[in-house]
Amino acid sequence: MSSHAHAGGSTVHAPMAEPSGFIRKYIFSVDHKVIGIQYFLLALTAVVVGIVLSLLMRFHLVWPNAALPFVSGGQMSQEQYLALVTMHGTIMVFFVLTTAPQGGFGNYFLPIQIGAPDMAFPRLNMLSFWVTFLAFVCIIAAFAVPGGAPISGWTGYTPLSGLGEITGPGEGWGQTMWIVSISLFCLASLLGALNFIATTIDLRAPGMSLMRMPLTVWGWFVTAILGLLAFGVLLAGGILLLLDRSAGTSFFIPAGLVVNDQLQAHSGGSPLLWQHLFWFFGHPEVYIAILPGMGVASHVLSTFARKPVYGYRAMAYAICAIGFLGFMVWGHHMFVSGMSPYSGFAFSVLTMSIGVPSAIKTFNWLGTLWGGKIQFKTPMLFALGFVSLFVSGGLSGLFLAQPAVDNMLHATYYVVAHFHLVMGVAAIFGIFAATYFWFPKMFGRMMSEPLGKIHFWFTFVGAYCIFMPMHFIGIAGGIRRYADASAVGFLAHLQPVHEFMTIAAFITGAAQLFFLFNFFYSLKFGPKASKNPWNATTLEWDTDSPPPIDNFGGHYPSVYRGPYEFSVPGAVDDFIPQWLEPSQVARVK
């Protein structure tokens, strides 16, 4: 695409009028900024719930017989533990990792960073949020329905999830609510993806060619494409599962099953089919969870190292490659499932390949830092933490990608360590980096640096303390989703490690209070933020903090250069923003 500057600079239109009334302004708003904050707050609620669930899990693993007055029965039972496992995974993957980075920050900043006044379809955007909200209500409701929450894991494998209550507590109404919630989430995400893609393609400001888009935009854009192509498949699977459960069909349930001495009247479906449909969605889903974070990491690293992103083009292509390959590797979740071993080999080769663009990104992050002038503000700390955690978590993937080694490690804590490091910490660090970075723009106030730093140190060290030892437990044969290890001889000696991880988890969980306090306190009492407190280069820093209703107050920017022009030789300032006309750039004489 050509990148011609617009003669006479940006054009001016009459500023847009704000909607009136509390409801239209804050509840049923079509403003992408309000919707972004709504998604963010939803994710914040979900992550608090998710963390509480995980702390209960970790507590149970170490003190299984402790009296817990708030739990029915006074003590946590096996099925309650499994319900926690299921709900923790579901809530975190969907309502935190898919919601905050994309629905939250993507919604807020994609239009602004490309110079648009809003998303392409604002009312559709509002609908997406409220359907997501409804999905969240449904998943929380699963705790309250008869039988309680489902116990089949966030992966919902059939026949455990397909036969109803007879396979276990929570498999009745609870599992149904799970399917309904996920299906609603799929619909909302599809609509959201549509918006993101159309906006990125059609609403870019003059001069904003694809190769001048910030890497955050690349991240959101490719993530949306993944979502568009993946969520429909999960929705289809969910519908078929619902039919198996309530309409007597047998898509996923074979004939001749006997559960609790009762012969099930089903005819010849395939549990493997559910796994294929689920993981065809499920693998792109985890890239949906990490790609926005990668975009944020690149963006923040560059800004605070005062250097362009090293290898911008390679980074953009790597995001695309990860997205593309992400659709071809789903079978690596199924190496021991009974799927053809030849397919297993093919999936393995493709999975090892996806390590390549990920490695490229890591090298380029290091390259961005190299020779830089690094300022250690809180957003930067979390971006640096992201790089470290992504390396740690990504490398264990290389073990799991090989089916021979996976024979040993499948369904052990090694897998749990791997995905928590990449999703449960690295991706979360991406969200934290984004929050600390963009809080001034979103709310017009600065967050406290000291509190931010304390939050970072505790969380970074804490996360490693929780999840590194899990590799060890996995190698020793510690099996995941075990409510307790007492029945298995070889697990007994691992209890001290579990204790260590539990204590680390409680401390790290508690340390999040620093973040929550900082966030809400700064909303009201933080020092006022200027337009561009970080001296950053992308379009969102050209407008007020917070931005007016149409993002740019009636004037629409034009873009004259790439997004990471830091420390350009010959320029007086160590950054040249995208919106500055060439004639206005102060040059050294």
């Binding site: 011609h4 006044p117 059609d202 400001a205 289809a236 007597g248 898509f251």
Partner: protein
């Protein structure tokens, strides 16, 4: 298409290209927009076309999930697959749907020719044919039910109902869109754009039905 008679909206669709023509800073002022000058977001009409392409991609993946499930299930060893006798009326329904695409194309060209009456006539015909299709599908369902073939009867009947049901629901959405364009003036979306995107959707649903029908017929 007559070169001298071209709607404003069609002009826009051809002019809006590249980042410079992004819509709101293009020199065309309000003619580049939705006509809603009260300041709501100004979206280039092109975005609605892009949006429909994207929507169709998502919908396609949804149906492809069902299709791959069908193929897997059918070809399972010891599958106990009892082929479904495809109701004959489905042939008629298919012809009706194909006809509706032709009438829709006709309506589109009448619109381009600024022949409002012609447009409304052929557009309405399309809607009627669509409704007839859905009615025909319901009749097919009742014929199967009369033979004792329901959703859970056997795997091939399950897929039949899922395919036709999912497609039918989407087609109903298309019918609602057709009616909306017929009777209501759109605000943000220029009428030409609305005609364009609804047509895209309808033709896609037609093509999808042909594919599903072929699959069901060959798989019996």
């Amino acid at each position: 298409m007559p070169s001298t008679i071209v709607t404003e909206e069609m002009e826009l669709l051809r002019v809006d290209k590249g980042p410079g023509g992004g819509g709101f800073s293009g020199g065309g002022g309000d003619s580049g927009d939705s006509g809603d000058s009260s300041g709501a977001t100004r979206v280039p009409q092109r975005a609605y076309i892009t949006g429909m392409f994207i929507a169709l991609a998502g919908i396609l993946m949804f149906f492809m999930a069902f299709v791959s499930a069908y193929i897997v299930r059918k070809d399972m060893p010891n599958s106990a697959w009892i082929p479904l006798p495809v109701p004959r009326i489905l042939w008629l329904n298919t012809l009706i749907l194909i006809a509706s695409s032709f009438t829709l194309a006709r309506a589109h060209s009448r619109f381009t020719a600024k022949d409002e009456d012609g447009f409304r006539h052929w557009w309405a015909t399309t809607t009627v044919l669509g409704i007839l299709f859905v009615a025909g599908q319901i009749i097919a369902w009742r014929q199967l039910a009369a033979q004792g073939i329901f959703l859970a009867t056997n795997p091939s009947s399950s897929f039949f109902y899922v395919f036709t049901g999912a497609h039918g629901v989407h087609l109903l959405g298309g019918i609602l869109a057709l009616l909306y364009v017929q009777f209501r003036a759109t605000r943000k979306v220029a009428r030409g754009t609305a005609v364009e995107v609804v047509s895209m959707y309808w033709h896609f649903m037609d093509g999808l039905w042909l594919f599903l029908f072929l699959l069901l017929y060959l798989g019996r």
